[in-house]
Symmetry: none
Subunit: 353 residues, 3 copies
Amino acid sequence: MEGATKPLCQSPGCSIQVSRIMRPDDANIAGNVHGGTILKMIEEAGVIISTRHCNRQNEERCVAVLARVERTDFLSPMSIGDVAHVSAEITYTSKHSVEVQVNVMAENILKGAKRLTNRATLWYVALSLENVDKVVEVPSIQYTSPEQQEEGKKRYEAQKLDRLETKQRSEDIILPVISVDRQSKEPYTVGYSQSSLIHLVGPSDCALHKFVQGGVTMKLMDEVAGIVAARHCKTNIVTASVDAINFHQKIQKGSVITVSGRMTFTSNKSMEIEVFVDIDHVMESPKGKTPAATAFFTYVSLDKEGKALPIPMLKTETEDEKRRFEEGRNRYLHTKAKRMAQVQKGHCLPIHE
Amino acid sequence: MEGATKPLCQSPGCSIQVSRIMRPDDANIAGNVHGGTILKMIEEAGVIISTRHCNRQNEERCVAVLARVERTDFLSPMSIGDVAHVSAEITYTSKHSVEVQVNVMAENILKGAKRLTNRATLWYVALSLENVDKVVEVPSIQYTSPEQQEEGKKRYEAQKLDRLETKQRSEDIILPVISVDRQSKEPYTVGYSQSSLIHLVGPSDCALHKFVQGGVTMKLMDEVAGIVAARHCKTNIVTASVDAINFHQKIQKGSVITVSGRMTFTSNKSMEIEVFVDIDHVMESPKGKTPAATAFFTYVSLDKEGKALPIPMLKTETEDEKRRFEEGRNRYLHTKAKRMAQVQKGHCLPIHE
Amino acid sequence: MEGATKPLCQSPGCSIQVSRIMRPDDANIAGNVHGGTILKMIEEAGVIISTRHCNRQNEERCVAVLARVERTDFLSPMSIGDVAHVSAEITYTSKHSVEVQVNVMAENILKGAKRLTNRATLWYVALSLENVDKVVEVPSIQYTSPEQQEEGKKRYEAQKLDRLETKQRSEDIILPVISVDRQSKEPYTVGYSQSSLIHLVGPSDCALHKFVQGGVTMKLMDEVAGIVAARHCKTNIVTASVDAINFHQKIQKGSVITVSGRMTFTSNKSMEIEVFVDIDHVMESPKGKTPAATAFFTYVSLDKEGKALPIPMLKTETEDEKRRFEEGRNRYLHTKAKRMAQVQKGHCLPIHE
């Protein structure tokens, strides 16, 4: 094991160690740390070390940006309470790129056991801070032997070839119809702005009990509504109001929820977005989705002085969309009338008046 | 304003104040705090006060669960650096529910100015900690006057009626075809497990420069792949490996990214999931999506002792799915052969063998 | 600087380094990293190293719990994008406690500059995992010299005495009137700036055991102190130092804690804020609050060039406020005298000189 960590780079400061205790939010309900948590730590070590290196001999301030990660195996699962030690070092530099090799060890500090869980290789390029489209030259590291440099060069050539191939493939690629094919939709239609997100319910969403706190759900609902509103009018948008929300179903830790939003109505200065929350019991037999909550969010668009901007009118296409638009208009007029009555009694006005 | 905060409940401990500074991640790129952040704080105050109240005179330990939020207006935008003061108090109790009224003030602590930004009314029910399907009786609060109790009762009846109506409506509702209609798909097909999430790129995703750090993107890719894997086999799944990932495009702060995953191949004990990251330039003119990265994740399913479980075989339906399955099989065999060669050289084995 | 990091402990595995990029959420709006963020990182390194050490020779699995932090000076401000390097090592062990000394360096990876920002000393006790009320014996470290052990013993005796005194004081304490009606208060009075926040202890606050990690508590204490300081002087403020903090009570997952702060003293260029942490057992029968920790934070106000600004004098109104102001002045003069002695020996100066 220790052999794996003997220094390959003799330049000063070209290795780093990042350590952190694994928390409940880093893991799934069985207690296994997500691969994604480890990948994120690996990249944090990589970006620190390569940014530091690229600024070493350069006049021009620059940042390292991740260009490629080589194939990575997860050799052993990590658990909550383990300490993850990520050690990274620069192992090769070409004219414009830096190779970083990373080892991840998991340490059980209660038992003293330590084991290798990952090895990864990352490639960074340095971009100028002033002009981020400009690739900057990378200073060379000092190699411990000519063989080491030679082997690095081979790895560099191999990954370059692979990147080229992938690039061509990715241009060929027909984008999957997984999410809505937005490109085929006309701007300002319902389909154009409709959006959905999935959220895996983690421990921090359920601090008091094993169910999601209502506030977490509302935050996600507002997030989707905000994306729908931004897609529709492409300006700075803010929440103006939320209609009554009823919660029909408790949402358990470990479930996956889908939060979907579609625009239902636009007035001159406001948009109404309907949001649905559905529970997908991933671990249970296929009983489909259970609706958990729905609500109407009203958004307005603000200019830099905070004044409300006009909203492009929603284009309704189907009968359902037209009906929902009418229902939205009724809610809008009803609220407006109610608010006028309150204003006469001296109450505050909401944002969008 | 001050009038609104005079105590309505005379029981001890039935009001609470929660304050917090608004951070960059609480707000959009224009600096306006998300409505969702405020809704989440409101509910946090509500759940604390009502859980505390319900445990006051009860023998049985219980937790308060949000049942309904009344319509809420956002009266004034809040900014990064403002202190949000959320004060909540219990204003009515029925046999099984608690009404909490909340005021949110934004304080600019540098200028000393304070303004009302929200008023909200939340309804909680108390559930037994031992048996979360059992609704527990709520102790009554002490009212300041009979009128106060009478008005609370009216609000209680009104919301009860509305909840009943919504429930009926929600049963009528035809769920929107926003996301994939999973119910119509057969288990173990590609369409059945395919998933996607959207993520709004926030300041903490971009600490070093104005672009997303690669590690953040990889974490999201792993999250989607994990959901696809869990949907397919409905067991505890962990990442076994990630194929080389190439990053084609920088992703800017404020963009919305869509991360989509679909299963491409299953062997006896592993699943391969292809993941796509696409950038959606929400604020710019409609130029559709730009692909930013793709990768293949391999997942395995583990039992409680950490042993690999058999994986249900993927059912391919279209020509494209069959072709991708074959390509996946080739990658699988190629990796396996390569690994056997390494084992003979004495290297570590990854999780899934 | 490098001299400060020469190993004091010869036992294997008794040092650790934790590094992380500072993100926007770690800092205030002027871009200065919160003292609380740094205190939390310091404690994370401390709890890892001392838990690891206590389990080394013990049969009984145990966890290290923070009992005390010695006075800490913040020597230089840290900014978003800097890499914080926290290195910790065990420097003394008594029968039941572990002393950890920590150095924090800030590295600007764009400019290559590295500077010392903090030194801290933490005391941990080891509690049995099976029975958290049982204190476990700590294995001794191997000292490099008898003098080193002798000096450690002196520090141990000194802090023991101080803890005893604080405990008695904390029983006297009259809890502050939280959540005041700020608008009726005159600027620069104690009541005008006093503040409190409530925090629901979630799973991520307790990664290693079912109690809050000391670092989480310290971060919240710094947050409240910062709000008090900003309210008083309405400028960009930063933590200059924290007096010794003693932790009297373990705080369990699921509790609600109230963190309150009030200003006690102002000099020309600094403010002293007293912070209280109280536990509110939401789920249990009404036994009122339990004090968990208290501390004095010193803040300074900086202009855009990082120079200390004059502080408006605190207006004391009651006899208690006047007494506390005098006590604060004594602490201030005592620290100043001590620091002058150190300066003559060639040590670093904290931020506010």
